[in-house]
Symmetry: C2
Subunit: 326 residues, 2 copies
Amino acid sequence: MKHPDLSETNLLEPRLLRLFDALFATGSVTKAAEKLGQSQPTISIWLARLRKELDDPLFIRSAEGMLPTPRAEALIGTVRQALEMLRRLAELRSEFDPATAKRRFVICMTDASHITLLPAILAHVRRVAPGIRIEAARIGGDTPRMLQAGEADLALGYITDLDAGHFQQALFPQDWVCLANPKHARIRDRITAKDFKREAHVLIRSGTGHQLLADALREQQIVLDVALELPGFLGLPAIVGTTDLIATLPRHIGETLAHYYGLRVLDCPLAIAGFTVKQYWHARFHHDPANQWLRDVCGELFQQQEVRGLHRSGRPKKRRPRDLTS
Amino acid sequence: MKHPDLSETNLLEPRLLRLFDALFATGSVTKAAEKLGQSQPTISIWLARLRKELDDPLFIRSAEGMLPTPRAEALIGTVRQALEMLRRLAELRSEFDPATAKRRFVICMTDASHITLLPAILAHVRRVAPGIRIEAARIGGDTPRMLQAGEADLALGYITDLDAGHFQQALFPQDWVCLANPKHARIRDRITAKDFKREAHVLIRSGTGHQLLADALREQQIVLDVALELPGFLGLPAIVGTTDLIATLPRHIGETLAHYYGLRVLDCPLAIAGFTVKQYWHARFHHDPANQWLRDVCGELFQQQEVRGLHRSGRPKKRRPRDLTS
DNA sequence: GGTGCTTCATTGCGATTCGCAATAATGGTT
DNA sequence: AACCATTATTGCGAATCGCAATGAAGCACC
């Protein structure tokens, strides 16, 4: 055995602290043994060890039993405090009660999620956790670092190159739809591939899915007539509702916008890779009750049945660990 | 291994607390191993044990090193407090500084010692330990119980049936002398056995030595002419100084009284068993610095050269343990 | 003083745990 | 994919453990 750091004194082990306490209370090695669930010879050996480490006989045999020395009397208070502190360490478990907790959660998400996910999160949280505040932050190259640093608690969306140390949980799949003006002169109830190539388009140059769309166009060697590119979704409903431009979006945001703004939703004729929207968090917070509550909330709100059956993974796996359980 | 008391949780051992602290400080298993003087695999195993006992990963591997979980961050303060408390336990040693200490010592002694020993003790203590108070108590059947209970710190004298658990240290031997009126009509410079039997005597019916005198008289079948019996030494000098009565006393008190009151000291013609005046204390206080100081003081004041050479005994022996060392 | 009882201290030994060299696995960089 | 640094795991000889058996100590009783 390597000797421990010579600058460190030997510290008493919990069993010796327990012995000290029990012997002080009972005045008997035999009774202390019973109390500690050990045999009498074992406890006698432990006492010898205590005596050596504290350099004092500590308890002297007499007709009245084992009587403490002044040194033992001086130490018993600190021994009991040390035991109490060690018990606190073992029992200390932070809990999270949404009804009473007061804290802020930072959730990274795309702009689209402000419309598709955030309202439902906010409504739920305001109902069951009035002291909780939600802050939305953008998903970007900094997101993994923010999750690890605890500057963000969760990320919702589709993140492709998250490094190790993060968990993920699938929420719902996404395929693609086209939005059109309900009064569109040429596009009624469906849009064909031919229509798609002929018509003018408006593209959103943000969000995690736009790269998939670009990939699909390149792979199928299709060049769209892109009449307009927007940096975000803000003006999109107005543009699609007053022109004949076609917008191609992930289904969730597409249907949401169509619903609110009375736009026409059409199955997309282009074969674009679907993707799964997930929630991501750092392994440091995997067992944190607060973080766990938040992702349970998101899971309940957004997880669709068909992804619930995916088998669990209890720990992060190479590249992108995911967690399917509370 | 018998299982410990089921009502007790497993408490963290000091080495695991040290590991927690070192890992929190360094963020590296390898560096923590160096700091703790163990190998890296050993520390990795200890970390696994910590994780299991606290039911939390505690530190998560990342590019920046091992990062603490919220649980680890919540625990580190208590871990460090527990370590500090355990260090205090190891280092706590009561000291006794006579120059500054304030306490009371209770010393059991015979009445004779009030005259022979107490003045010297008091003078010394008042000079080097101004905050110390001395209380003299009588030696009696209760003395052993008082020593064990801490109600008395020391006993000075000749105690014959002290039970186990007590230490003793020889101070000085005692033989016997006779006191006479310097103007005695018949007793001049010496007293013969014939004189001894013929003369009238005054006896002191107290002190530990009077039983030895009675034994000697009985064994030698001598019947003294006891004209007076006193319960103590108070009136003795006046009686001897104004009558022709002979007093037989242990040498120390005899010479002391003769010195103060101008009495004649004569070698006792009767063969009476000598004895050794000792100091006694209970084993519970053997290592107590205060008790040790007090008996060192008495040793220095009263221990004669011829008893200093007696070999030491480091622990109490059957029936009457004695200690010859500081 | 001898005997007997209870309790604490010591011994010898089989069982368990320990620390670590060697190596596998992991995370990150090139 | 290869390489490097670090953490996790395995197998094994060494060290420590708990305890049955027993010796020693303290005390009551005869």
